[in-house]
């Protein structure tokens, strides 16, 4: 539950409305999880591409293995930036979620519009003690998800959001 200082640090070039309150970051464990998944998917490909030509006696054909390796290295860096870009802010009447580096997105969901708050935690998430919070409104296009919350924080947020949602509830 680390509250990183208001809209400071890297990449936050003020595309979110400046407000009192604190932008919170997601857990750094999320980055570890994402990178672990990345390695899990790319390592076998790289290994097979690198070792198979050597075993078959044509070592020069191991060079193309550098391509997935380079892609993985690039992914490693990109994941770091993307993960750091996830932020959320609880304001008096709405929740702001900001994310993305290349494709930036800022979502504003008023508390009164929330139909359902969902906290999910898959086996991998639990391994890294993470939880994912998802807000549903009556609009299917609403894309409000916060991955990589600490379970306590996810529960606190869920309870607070449902409470606020009930207090400010409005019809369709």
């Amino acid at each position: 539950m680390e509250a990183v200082g208001a809209d400071g640090a890297d990449g936050a070039d003020g595309d979110g409305p400046e407000e009192a309150g604190q932008w919170r970051r997601v857990q750094p464990a999320l980055l570890t999880l994402w990178r672990a998944v990345l390695v899990m998917w790319t390592a076998p490909v790289v290994l097979v591409a690198a070792l198979l030509p050597v075993l078959l006696g044509a070592p020069e054909w191991a060079l193309p293995a550098l391509l997935p390796l380079a892609l993985a290295a690039w992914g490693w860096v990109v994941l770091g930036r993307v993960c750091r870009s996830w932020r959320y802010l609880e304001r008096a009447d709405d929740l702001l979620i900001s994310r993305g580096v290349m494709w930036k997105q800022l979502t504003v969901v008023p508390y009164g519009r929330m139909q359902l708050v969902e906290v999910t935690s898959g086996p991998l998430d639990r391994r890294f003690s993470l939880a994912r919070l998802q807000l549903h409104t009556a609009a299917a296009a609403t894309d409000a998800t916060i991955p990589g919350l600490a379970p306590d924080e996810a529960e606190r947020l869920r309870d607070r959001l449902t409470e606020l949602g009930e207090a400010r509830s409005a019809g369709l």
Binding site: D94, K104, L106, V108, V109, P110, A139, A140
Partner: protein, 461 residues
Amino acid sequence: MSTQGEQHGAPHGGTPGSPGDGPPRPGGFPPEGRRLHPVTPWRRAWAPLAGLGALVTQNPERLRDAAELGLVPLLGFTTAVLAVAAAYGFLSWRVTRYRITETELRIRTGLLFRRTAHLRLDRIQSIDITQPLLARVLGVAKLKMDVVGAGSHDELAFVGEAEARELRAELLARAAGIAPEAAPAAGEAPARQLYRVETRTLAWALALLGTGWGALLAALAGIPLMLWLTGSVFAAAVTGLPMAVALWRSSVGGFLTQYGWTVSESPDGLRLDHGLLQKEHATVPPGRVQSVRLVEPLLWRRRGWVRVELEVAGAGHESGLLLPVTTRAECVALLGRLLPRVDIEAAVAAVRPAPRRARWAVPVWWRGYGHGVTEAVFVARHGRLRRVHTLVPHAKVQSVRLTRGPRQQALRLADIHVDHGAGGTATARQMDAGYAAAEVAAQAERSRLGRRAARPDRWLT
């Protein structure tokens, strides 16, 4: 499965002493519910036969096999299929019942898998009555309820014509919050005709649409080309068929469904009646409109014509069309009744175009993009040939999003998306980034205030 899950466990019959559970009042509901019209089974009986026919004709070899069987076994087989289908239809008709309680419409169906749908009356968005040609001959109609989260199964097909009208009146009266005892007696609310699309105007409007001419042109160019290239009539016919369908849809088909389009006002909301062969009838209660689209195709603009489309929460009635063609002034007057606090002229006038540098992001079409805001609505404009204004009342906004792709970041541009309850999104594209960020913040505030001023769900209470 129940469409309203949370209602499933509700005690049968609601509060004690509710009229729905009491002794059946004259014209009221027996406790076990009413049945659909007795012609209903026949609708289901012919379906398997048609399926069989399609299966046989699709494969010519099977057709030959079938012919070799001889006429008598073939007839016998067909009769057997028909009998089984009829029996199934009859039995499923027998177990299908519906009743209106104080808060819900309950439909119980299913021969093997029992399914009970409880549709909450205060969540009804609109009620449509449809009468296909055959149903008109038989004097029956299909009643379709739009409830948030309901599927296509939740329709009453078929009930008697008079009964359908009564049911619609009662459902709408209850949904509006009229006292339950008075609801059956309230009857059909009086309607006053507001607007009728003249046949000549409709024909001209359809003739001036680009899509019909496009399909015709494609057919005129495509079919001979195909014939010349392959020399096969079959190939030409195969390519020509979809074009012919598109042509039919945008011209004659559109004319048949939109013929005699009448909008009338009643305390239940706006009533829409239309159709030459297949009569359709829809009611849009007030306060349920999530978004309005004004569509102005290129060739209509000189005449000042506009098509008005609505988006209503729920499954959405027939393509969301409110008026196939009307003048700007009529459209403003009509929408004034649906959205009383919205000034359409002001909203359209408030639209500001995208900045000039947007031409590097979207070369020709950037001119079409625009965004505007009034006290009551968010307006987004797009389209260059076919200009579309999308209006979302602030009170209906579910969430606001700001997105920026890589090229937009380089050009300091951003898109504003406004999601509304009908599952749609109004997008103001290629706005100045600073302006967009300020607008998103302001929009969140506006929709919060707009909701406070919004009317309650039960519009007569």
